[in-house]
């Protein structure tokens, strides 16, 4: 495997992705990602110099909304999905010490 993924990398990506992997999952993730990256490195065979990165397939642009209020209050329905709700708000663990 050309791409060796270190424990630090997996740890770091876990922080970015907010995923906590078990020891086995970490090992699996290391080899999976290494193999995937080896496979992805195949792209380096391609000369893409001077090629513009294409994010949208069609040249669609300037899709706008007018500045007009269209939404009412749907709080109750939306909050019905919240794991924890209080006083019309979404409850989460304390974000400050």
């Amino acid at each position: 495997m050309a791409n060796i993924i270190s424990d630090e990398t997996i740890e770091y990506v876990g922080i970015l992705a907010k995923l906590e992997l078990s020891a086995e999952e970490k090992e699996a993730a290391k080899s999976d990602m290494g193999r995937m990256l080896d496979y992805i490195d195949k792209l380096n065979e391609l000369d893409t110099s001077g090629v513009e990165p294409m994010s949208h397939v069609f040249p669609v642009h300037n899709v706008f909304r007018e500045d007009v209020v269209t939404n009412g209050d749907d709080r109750e329905n939306m909050l019905a999905n919240a794991p924890e709700e209080r006083d019309g708000q979404y409850q989460v663990p304390k974000t400050v010490e």
Partner: protein, 480 residues
């Protein structure tokens, strides 16, 4: 302190744009709704929801960019800034990194030394605001309200061109006035519609390269900004003097403790994985659109001041105060247009209005009275319908309740009394009742007249025309 240090300051200013709806959905941006009553699937990050850009946001961002002499990226895009936080419903913020709408501008400020300098603007980009977190100490939890989530912001990133708190304040004030005059935002630091993060580093005077900078957040008043700059400057100098390194980090300013705290945590890696948002398409800004916005730019403060001095021959001091907030300038112009008496209008705004604003602890843009009513009041004083002390009394009611001065004067019977016969007889009685004063007058004590005038005023409940009293009184006395 042996060495001489200079502070190098750059600002990241966030401004809430004055749109009716949010940047990517049709929810109202109005303040004061109950928590989460101005939300929808888009601004709460519901699965399956998609953003659609509010055209007004582009127009306002463009207007600010042009007013601050920026270059425009006529092809601009939105990118996702990925980080987890509960006030950020999608756990990515839609912003602009690679192709911001405006770049390479600047504004001129007066330096404390009285000179002028330009503070460069690196870029202006459009983005969405986050929701609000309320911390509940009893329940040891936080509560999220998404009413502000998705409110349109522009972030104005300056070059590190400022060297002191004074320059920072001058720059912020300049931005505030430009943006207020554009009507793009009300720019209130206290209410958070204008927020400034301070990037600050210190270096020995003379050195070319910058020192390590820190970013300070949570600065919600000009005073706080000034204190934070002084505090952080001192902190960094102490570190350098002690041979310790300044760490590049984000710090939170606590204005009550007057100290900043590092906001570091191993859980936020500060690696935002920006990439173009595939749910939004590029914005292409035509030359026509730019020209159109340019042609609709209002008269800005400096031009206004010059014009007031020139056109209304006001003293520079007055012109400066009147243009200090757009609201005051608007009232001045509207009132003058009605009564064609710029001097008097300026006086009422500069003296009585300022006094009442101070007394009522109000900002000028909270003024409620209509130019029509102020003009009417001025007219009445000019025509001698009411005297100045009555006028002041009436104005208080105009200021507080925007009453129609004419009606008010009528129903409270405050009209100045110009009936000379009635006045003459009143004065004759008063003269008769005060032989001593008459004697004093005859004896050459001219100021005895003052007492008699006062008595007459009292007798007429201040409605009499002072000039008239003097005339009649002296006639009577001289006849005696």
């Amino acid at each position: 302190m042996s060495k001489q240090y200079e502070t190098v300051i750059g600002l990241e200013v966030h401004v809430e744009l004055a749109t009716r709806t949010k940047i990517f959905c049709g929810c109202s941006t109005a303040f004061g709704g109950a928590p989460n009553t101005h939300t929808c699937p888009v601004c709460t990050g519901m699965p399956g929801s998609l953003p659609v850009l509010n055209k007004r946001v582009v127009e306002l961002a463009l207007a600010v960019g042009l007013a601050t002499n920026c270059q425009i990226n006529q092809y601009c895009k939105f990118d996702r800034k990925n980080y987890f936080y509960p006030d950020n419903p999608q756990n990515y913020q839609i912003s602009q990194l690679y192709l911001p709408i405006c770049h390479d501008g600047g504004v001129e400020i007066e330096t404390p030394e009285g000179g002028k300098k330009t503070v460069g603007i690196h870029e202006i980009h459009m983005e969405e605001d986050a929701g609000k977190l309320i911390h509940d100490d009893w329940e040891d939890c936080s509560l999220v309200d998404f009413n502000r989530s998705g409110v349109p912001l522009i972030e104005i990133v300056s070059e590190p061109d400022m060297r002191s708190a004074e320059e920072v304040i001058a720059y912020l004030d300049k931005l505030r006035l430009i943006i207020q005059y554009l009507g793009a935002s009300d720019c209130k630091l206290q209410e958070g519609s204008m927020r400034a993060d301070v990037n600050l580093s210190v270096r020995e005077v003379g050195t070319k390269e910058f020192g390590t900078r820190t970013e300070m957040k949570n600065l919600n008043s000009f005073k706080a900004i000034a204190r934070a700059i002084e505090g952080e400057k001192a902190r960094q100098i102490d570190l350098i003097e002690a041979g310790k390194p300044v760490i590049q980090e984000t710090r939170r300013w606590d204005d009550t403790k007057e100290y900043s705290y590092a906001m570091r945590s191993k859980e936020d890696a500060q690696d935002y994985r920006y990439f173009p948002d595939p749910d939004l398409v590029p914005v292409i800004i035509s030359d026509e659109m730019i020209e159109d916005i340019k042609s609709h730019q209002p008269e800005f403060r400096d031009e206004k001041m010059a014009r007031y001095i020139e056109e209304f021959s006001l003293p520079a001091y007055d012109a400066d105060i009147l243009t200090g907030t757009k609201k005051l300038a608007d009232i001045f112009e509207a009132t003058t247009a009605i009564c064609h008496n710029p001097k008097k209008v300026s006086n009422w705004l500069m003296v009585e209005t300022m006094r009442l604003l101070k007394d009522r602890e109000m900002d000028a843009d909270k003024i409620r009275f209509s130019p029509e009513h102020l003009a009417a009041l001025i007219q009445m004083t000019e025509e001698g319908t009411i005297n100045s002390s009555v006028a002041k009394e009436v104005f208080e009611h105009v200021f507080d309740e925007d009453v129609d001065p004419q009606a008010y004067v009528e129903e409270h019977g405050l009209k100045m009394d110009n009936d000379s016969d009635a006045l003459t007889s009143t004065i004759e009685e008063i003269v008769a009742a005060n032989p001593q004063s008459v004697a004093d007058y005859k004896a050459g004590k001219k100021k005895a007249v003052g007492f008699l005038v006062g008595q007459t005023m009292k007798a007429t409940q201040g409605k009499a025309n002072p000039a008239m009293i003097n005339k009649i009184l002296t006639e009577i006395l001289d006849k005696m």
